[in-house]
Symmetry: C2
Subunit: 268 residues, 2 copies
């Protein structure tokens, strides 16, 4: 049965779409069938990434591995009860469609608390939450004391995941593996990095997520968007005549993330 991975973080710009595309391509290059649902219906970063990928693949005659995508529309109903009923149907149809033909379904949730986002969180097998190395992002997970940097009360996004986990337990009698990873980690910045790291470690025990190795701030994670490529595609695309140290480090970061995710069927 398809394993559903939801890229979730109500905080904007944490890296959900970036990790989503790199995960999807990595899994395809490990010969898994991958489906994608972009729930950021207006912004469509992931959808546009795939449009760019299709365009580049055609332009260069490359035959790149491209995940299956099902597009869901937001409801335009003016009554929320009606809109949510419509969206539940659209969501279930998208899942049924992809479950039939994929090993993994990567769902890119928006950086906002939307009905679609909650549906996704409540259906997830794995939730991956990227976080900037910043207490501004941390603030949506929990409060911190400004003197001791001790972790305080869980905050809105922790509460959202908790509620969705309960719904999943009730509906499917299954648990959710919640994995948090830092993203856009700066190469400098020792004190803030240490404080955020300690906060995440403390909070992981309290709120119930695992910590995964994160991604550094690297232009290679973002500069290929107009081409729809990821660093994993560069040998096939043939354009990169040599890999920089940053490329090699990025490949390792992606590999290390996959190892810690322990996704089903991927051992070895």
């Amino acid at each position: 049965p398809a394993h559903i991975i939801v890229m979730g973080n109500e905080k904007g710009g944490a890296g959900k779409s970036t990790v989503a595309i790199h995960l999807a391509v990595a899994l395809m290059r490990m010969n898994r069938r991958v489906g994608v649902i972009d729930l950021d219906v207006r912004q469509s970063t992931l959808g546009r990434y795939l449009d760019n990928r299709r365009r580049w693949s055609e332009r260069r005659g490359l035959d790149l591995p491209i995940p299956e995508q099902v597009v869901v529309q937001a409801s335009t109903a003016r009554s929320l009860d009606e809109a949510e009923a419509e969206e539940v149907e659209a969501w279930k149809a998208a899942l049924r469609d992809l479950k039939a033909r994929c090993d993994f379904i990567v769902v890119d949730a928006p950086g906002a608390d939307t009905h679609f986002s909650r549906l996704a969180h409540s259906s997830a097998d794995t939730i991956i939450t990227p976080v900037n190395d910043s207490f501004v992002d941390f603030d949506l997970l929990a409060d911190v004391d400004p003197d001791t940097f001790e972790v305080g009360r869980p905050s809105v996004y922790s509460a959202l995941v908790w509620e969705c986990r309960k719904q999943k337990a009730v509906k499917e009698k299954k648990s959710i593996d919640w994995v948090v990873m830092r993203n856009r980690i700066s190469m400098l910045d020792a004190r803030n990095k240490r404080r955020v790291g300690k906060g995440l470690k403390k909070l992981s025990e309290r709120v119930g997520f695992r910590l995964a190795p994160g991604f550094g701030e690297r232009v290679i994670y973002r500069e290929l968007f107009p081409l729809g490529l990821t660093l994993l595609d560069l040998t096939q695309d043939g354009s990169a005549k040599q890999f920089t140290l940053s490329h090699v480090a990025a490949r390792q970061e992606l590999r290390d993330l996959l190892i810690v995710l322990k996704l089903p069927g991927l051992e070895g």
Copy 2:
């Protein structure tokens, strides 16, 4: 009459709240009366930043300059017509409240297309749009060609600003000064930076915004969030025994932004 500055970008994590707090504190330290409306009603980054500021100011007996804040609630009505009518009233009341006692009103819009966000964009005198140095962020402004990096069709957020500008022109017979600035600019990364820069320059003429100097990626812009402080407060707070090169550069970036904004009453 109060000058309304809206921090707008539908793209998440571009730096709206970060620029909002630094602008608010800078204006207060130039002896202007500043009011703040945080329209990211669930996340409340700016509201929490100010809560942290009040807490630190009390704990340390500091009497920091703190902007006036009016809190608006999102409507919980299940009918969108009813919810939007409620939010229009809440918005007007918040503006009336602050207009009476402020020179500047800084509105922090959410990283999503919400009704409150559109109300704010249509009432703005100045819209400031921070953007990551990235075509992922650029994509919400316009499409680019992957071979030439030529700017193509305007995208969802450009369309939103255009619609709101029309509404402002119709309702108030006034124009909006739309200013775009890069944020989290990397010290390395030459090629991508050059391409994004050229794209922004081209687009500014086509879509009608001015370009302002941006902010570098600097930990000083984010590490003080739990204290509610900005780099401008460090001499008063007394905690920074010496300023790093990055602090000095950040101060200059903030000054350069204010110069280009040409806000009323601030010449000299």
